[in-house]
């Protein structure tokens, strides 16, 4: 997982894998952060959006 492991060997696999992983994780993370922050703001404003 981390380059400081004794058996670590750098190769393309790491770039592809970690690229994909962190891309997905950041989208999920940012999406949720956005939703929560927006919900907090909406709630503060006292409004209740309709759906």
């Amino acid at each position: 997982m981390f380059p400081f492991c004794f058996e670590w060997v750098w190769d393309m696999g790491h770039l592809v894998f970690h690229g994909g992983l962190w891309y997905a994780l950041s989208i999920i993370g940012m999406g949720m952060t956005y939703c929560i922050i927006k919900a907090v703001i909406d709630t503060r404003r006292g409004g209740s959006s309709h759906h």
Partner: protein
């Protein structure tokens, strides 16, 4: 690429087992168990649940009495190099890097404290050289006294396998280092099974070293994954492209044929040098 820990030529430790000399006595199995603290249960007759790093298979030519013939095939871990060095069937699949291919020695290791027991490596190994600790190892009262401190007993729930007695390599390296040497002599590092074999059927050494007996016996084609050039020498499942470092020698055609799979009517050797892409 990982930096070599030695400036010297990397080793490719391997083994040649002379199946015509092998008598099926089982010494290698027990030498291995004794050296490597392999546990045992009250009933070991279910061979699908019996940890034998070195397992001696009994094979037959399938002919009826009295033309029948049998041969024993001792099977340690084959320490496959794979299609490209290090791409062993098991090493490539282990999700937790708990098994590793050493570019210094060519030995496939198993890190028991890292293995979490998913058994993917066992599914990957066509030789069934890998064993799972289905039970906690229990030594009968008193017998834990003979355990070798150089090899840690495995806990329940992890996979274990032959390590080519790696602890002996380490000990030999340490000794050489203290004596100011970098290279090991051929007889300084030998596996427990090699040492014990009463028939002298097992030969162990560095396949990369032309002075070593294994190299002389096999005459490995190092450009092609170490394929043997000696026609009496073969590897198990050569066609799968696992490129093992355990070689077998037999003068008997049917024994050599049993080492691999062939289509009906196919001649052994016909397709030996082709492997999948």
């Amino acid at each position: 690429m990982k930096q070599e820990q030695t400036q010297h030529r990397p080793k490719r430790y391997g083994m040649v087992i002379d199946l015509d000399k092998c008598t099926g006595c089982g010494s290698c199995m027990v030498a291995c168990m004794a050296e490597n603290n392999v546990s045992f249960k009250k009933d070991e007759s279910d061979k699908l649940l019996s940890i034998t790093w070195m397992r001696v298979y009994k094979i037959t030519n399938g002919k009826p009495f009295p033309d029948t013939d049998i041969c024993y095939i001792p099977r340690p871990c084959q320490h496959c190099a794979g299609q490209h060095e290090g791409h062993s069937p098991c090493v490539s699949v282990c999700p937790a890097t708990a098994t590793d291919y050493s570019r210094e020695t060519g030995i496939v290791s198993q890190i028991y404290t890292r293995c979490f027991g998913c058994r993917y490596c066992m599914a990957a190994c066509p030789y069934h050289a890998r064993y799972f600790n289905w039970w906690d190892p229990v030594w009968p009262d008193g017998m834990e006294k003979y355990l070798n401190p150089d090899v840690s007993p495995r806990m329940r729930g992890v996979v274990e396998k032959c390590s080519f007695c790696f602890q002996r390599y380490q000990a030999a390296k340490n000794k050489a280092y203290l004596e100011g040497r970098r290279e090991l002599e051929e007889d300084e590092y030998q596996t427990a099974c090699t040492q014990a074999c009463p028939a002298g059927a097992i030969v162990f050494g560095d396949l990369n070293n032309p002075d070593h007996l294994v190299h002389k016996m096999v005459d490995p084609d190092l450009k092609h994954g170490g394929r043997p050039r000696n026609p009496e020498v073969f590897r198990l499942l050569e066609r799968l492209g696992t490129n093992p470092k355990v070689y077998y020698k037999s003068g008997r055609q049917w024994v050599r044929k049993a080492g691999d799979n062939y289509l009906p009517g196919e001649k052994p050797g016909a397709d030996m040098h082709k492997s999948h892409s």
